[in-house]
Amino acid sequence: MTDRQSPVVLRLAGLTKRFGSVLANDAVELDLRRGEILALLGENGAGKTTLMNMLFGHYLPDAGHVEIIGPDGRLAPLPAGHPEAALRAGIGMVHQHFTLAYNLSALDNIVLGAEPLLAWRRDRQAARAKIDAIMARSGLTVALDAPVSQLSVGERQRVEILKALYREARILVLDEPTAVLTPQEADSLFETVGRMAADGLSVIFISHKLREVLAFSHRIEVLRHGRNVGGMATADADETRIARLMVGAETATDPRPPMAPGAPVLELRGVSVAGPDARRSLTGATLEVRAHEIVGIAGVSGNGQSALAALLSGLAEPESGEMRLADAPVARFTPAAFVAAGVGRIPEDRHHEGVVPDMSVAENLVIEALGDPEVSRLGFLRRGAIRARTAEACAEFDVRGPGPYAPVRLLSGGNMQKLILARVFGRAPRLILANQPTRGLDLGAAHAVARRLLEARARGAGVVLISEDLDEILSLADRIVVMHDGGMREAASRDRAAIGLMMAGQAAA
């Protein structure tokens, strides 16, 4: 544990960042002491990542500055906007989205940028020896010679941390490090981090998960709407107090009224779908989703969820097994046929699959319904009808932006997702696939998504909710199914630890 006497190694003074009209960070202050694990807590969109990007020089602050301890033990300002300066000063950052070159080995990724660029050859022997020593000291081990593309997500994260340690980082920033890990992997990560902190490393870890923050940090700093709203020693903190700080006056989630399930809307019987490898395929999946029911699909990403999503979107055809929608066998596996059969699909990657960013709000709203008589006649678009429909949908689903004819790329992530909701729910689907529907959304938008899913359930739709966020699944799902290595198993209980074990592929629950 740190004590008050440990020197301050990093100080963020009045950092302010504005994106367009959004004030992402407003005069944020932060002190970090040697050997301290500081949890930076806040909801999505609270400004945590922006703050860290300024610390690391990816963004230029509009005001304020960063001070860092120098070799003389005194705080000195860090030049803004220079990642290489931050690296030199001993700041290491593990981004939420890994910054690894997949075509290079772990060793090459770790060494990248650490040697003088114009050397005529690389000293791989020396590099390997140094990494081996770091791995031995920290307990972080990875296969150094395999290309990163072949490593698991947990291993890739270890490579990221090793990158920082190789650069002799004295301050390590972990941005949502557990988002992609099983609870057990997360525990082992924090154990390692704790050991390194005891060794003198200072750690900022960014999270919105109260449980892990309370378990592993020394001190907590809460951000809301880009401002400091409170800091405390973890020993003095409790869950309700920090939850209130994080979300303000609002209470967390809507209640999920009990509801008797109806007739099956989706049945999978021994369905297999090919994926890029065995782990990411769907093997012999059996699943039943009934009306008035939300089925949560828990699991660490990359365990077959994308194959399941592709299947339910009509993008992939099963190699074997049977799929029935509303008690009728599926004959044609195309997105258009699925839309026609009453399947509403909220894709995982909004920008990639959800919208056409350069087309307008109105066009994106009707893109799944081009054949509908309200949308087109004899192949010609009915522009008046589309305009009316867009105005109505934008009002109902609270889609805010520069107008119905503005390209969707100008919308915020939350508004883009609301647009997709409007498209999906406008057709009153009987089965809804919601794949990571709240990822990256601010609290308001995430609530809107949850409310819509519950409304659809009340209306009689069946929902398949795929999420990496176990809390989200626990709060919304009537039943929970865990995916591991392409297989699906229903969780017998709603016990977090038991589900965590299933996610890791251990012991039936």
Binding site: H82, L87, T99, N103, V111
Partner: protein
């Protein structure tokens, strides 16, 4: 059948293969370097023309053969810089920018040549690179004339392959270039300049392309003609994919292509009366298309190829 064996037994066939391959080796290497850094350079066809014209012009103005090579390389790097500025910091379409550079380099070369030499009916000539005699090796029967009687530029091409391979595989710079073509964020997070690496790679690659072009006017021929590049640049773009972005495979691909081309020229003299000559002339292009189709299935494109990257936007 006997005719084919005759062709293969003739050392001239092998030395012609190397001669045909030489500009392609430079071109494929150049395209490879650009693409490894994540930038498709369709300026290659025009940069070939510019290298051919500028190198020749420099020699004609009295700068000497190696001076000509240097001028060609600088010209190529200059056009590379234009392409790099448009596609790297500005992030504009690599396809369109590359075609634009090809149009610009070609028309500028033609315009300059016409302006400098307005009234010539037969193009003026220079004294080109001559085949080097390498003591002992050149005197080996068959192998000597087949392999060891090449101009200095062919040896330079070989050296360039080794150099590009060494840089990419064995140096920190090469590591960074390979990384920036896969994931620019990885390079940025390690404090290296994505823009610097990409712009540098495109300029160096374009310089290589231009040297390839200059081979045409300074070794293969001794004068500059309009239309003399004739799609060689596009063939290089196909060969890079065929070579799966590896320097030694690029050398092999270019040599294979050269051998095929030399072979069809000889078949043409053999069977030219029975079959229209155009059939033979089409062969290199069709071969390139086939090579592309064969390679496309297993092509492992650099992941960040064609994708612009902007600083501070992740």
């Amino acid at each position: 059948m006997m005719e084919i064996l005759d062709i293969l037994a003739n050392p001239n066939f092998w030395s012609a293969s190397i001669r045909i391959a030489t500009p392609l080796i430079f071109g494929v290497l150049g395209a490879l370097l650009c693409e490894r850094a994540g930038v498709l350079n369709l300026g290659i066809e025009g940069i070939f023309v510019a290298g051919a014209m500028a190198g020749w012009m420099a020699v004609w103005l009295g700068l000497g053969l190696w001076g000509g090579i240097a001028v060609a390389a600088l010209t190529g790097a200059g056009f590379g810089l234009i392409h790099a500025i448009l596609t790297v910091p500005l992030g504009l379409s690599q396809h369109v920018s590359g075609l634009g550079v090809t149009l610009l380099a070609t028309s500028l070369s033609y315009f300059t040549y016409r302006t400098a030499l307005p009234d010539v009916s037969t193009p003026p000539r220079i004294v080109p690179f001559r085949a080097l005699d390498i003591p002992l090796l050149s005197d080996i029967p068959f192998l000597g004339p087949a392999l060891f009687q090449q101009t200095a530029l062919s040896w330079l091409a070989l050296a360039a392959v080794a150099l590009v391979w060494w840089v990419l595989a064995r140096t920190p710079l090469g590591l960074a270039i390979r990384a920036v073509g896969d994931n620019p964020d990885a390079v940025d997070a390690q404090g290296l300049s994505v823009y610097g690496l990409r712009i540098g790679a495109v300029m160096a690659g374009s310089a290589l392309m231009a040297i390839g072009g200059s081979f045409l006017t300074m070794a293969a021929f001794d004068a500059f003609f309009f239309g003399m590049v004739n799609g060689r640049g596009w063939i290089c773009i196909a060969l890079v994919i065929f070579a799966s972005w590896r320097p030694w495979k690029a050398l092999a691909g270019a040599l294979l292509f050269g051998a095929f081309d030399a072979f069809q020229v000889r078949l043409q003299t053999e069977y030219g009366n029975a079959v229209p000559g155009q059939i033979f002339l089409m062969a290199p292009y069709i071969l390139s298309i086939i090579a592309l189709v064969v390679a496309a299935r297993r092509a492992d494109y650099p992941r960040a190829l064609l994708t612009p990257w902007f600083k501070g936007q992740r």
